[in-house]
Symmetry: C2
Subunit: 208 residues, 2 copies
Amino acid sequence: MPKRVDHEERRGQIAEALWRIAAARGLDGASLRDVAAEAGISLGQLQHYFTSKDDMIVFALGHIERLAQHRIHTRIEALPGAPTPRVVLRETLAEMLPLDEASRTGYLVQISYFVRAVHDERLRTHAQEGIASLRAFFADQLKTAIAQGEVSADRDPDREAALLIALTDGLSAAALMEYDSPRGALDLLELHLARLFSGAAQDTGGAA
Amino acid sequence: MPKRVDHEERRGQIAEALWRIAAARGLDGASLRDVAAEAGISLGQLQHYFTSKDDMIVFALGHIERLAQHRIHTRIEALPGAPTPRVVLRETLAEMLPLDEASRTGYLVQISYFVRAVHDERLRTHAQEGIASLRAFFADQLKTAIAQGEVSADRDPDREAALLIALTDGLSAAALMEYDSPRGALDLLELHLARLFSGAAQDTGGAA
């Protein structure tokens, strides 16, 4: 007869076993059996919670995101004064970069998820919801910054949010390849942010 | 007794079988045997050319990059007049975005490679060389643009090259998740390029 366990705790243990595999050798080819072994439970016990690798990855990603949000919140709370949109954006983006073990593991799980979502409509829909909510959060911060005169009114909040997130994704990839140092990736992000928060309207270039 | 075959041609056939698998269902879990079956050859024949999945992915990626360079060259040649740095950058970046089947497949193979390189130093070294050469090419174009007054002299060519490539990587990811349309991703890229090529020196923001 199975022992009574706290189901949320057990799910969390499984998610953490998945992260350890993602961080150590990647999820390519990792089976449910591998994850069960890493979590120290039987395959049958694992399948009580997750019937597929996709389900497990979706849960692990959600768990990672909640932890990341908690870390972002803690970072912002630790700063002196009321958080400005610039500080909120900077801290959130910095947390997305693989600058430490936790964010690096988060990024690796996300990549595994991404690779599977390309070929799976259900996973893709879930990814689209994630992108939409992150962009909306960033766009809101940018609207506030525009209202406060910190970002030029000729900037479009939705498009700037998309650019910021895309840039951070790409910088994360270069940092994971150990081409840019974590510090170097953060410097490049801050260069872009500094231009965005330069306040005054700028010539946006026009046609080539 | 094996038939005599053109070895380069055979390698190309194998690479193309790998791409078809990458495009159709992803390389996660795909074995040498799967690729041999897709290429219509035996596992033994495939192993004559590639002894590991990594070797095969490295070759397939090189093959993709040569084809992409050819497409970029053709695009630029087809444009009227001498190609300016802005045109060269725009066409190269647009080719990197997964806007059609060929560049989409290229991106998917690259992602599979990337995921493996995170955990493999040899693959990572290869990736670093690729990033270095792409950034150097972009930085050269930007130096010319600065000399011609098309890009402000206060822009650092190396850092701008890094930002352009990171941005394009991230926009590719959002396009593959079918969040941005191909046209939407290209519009965002062009917004960034238009600012970069606005000529006059800009306030770069400074500290928060």
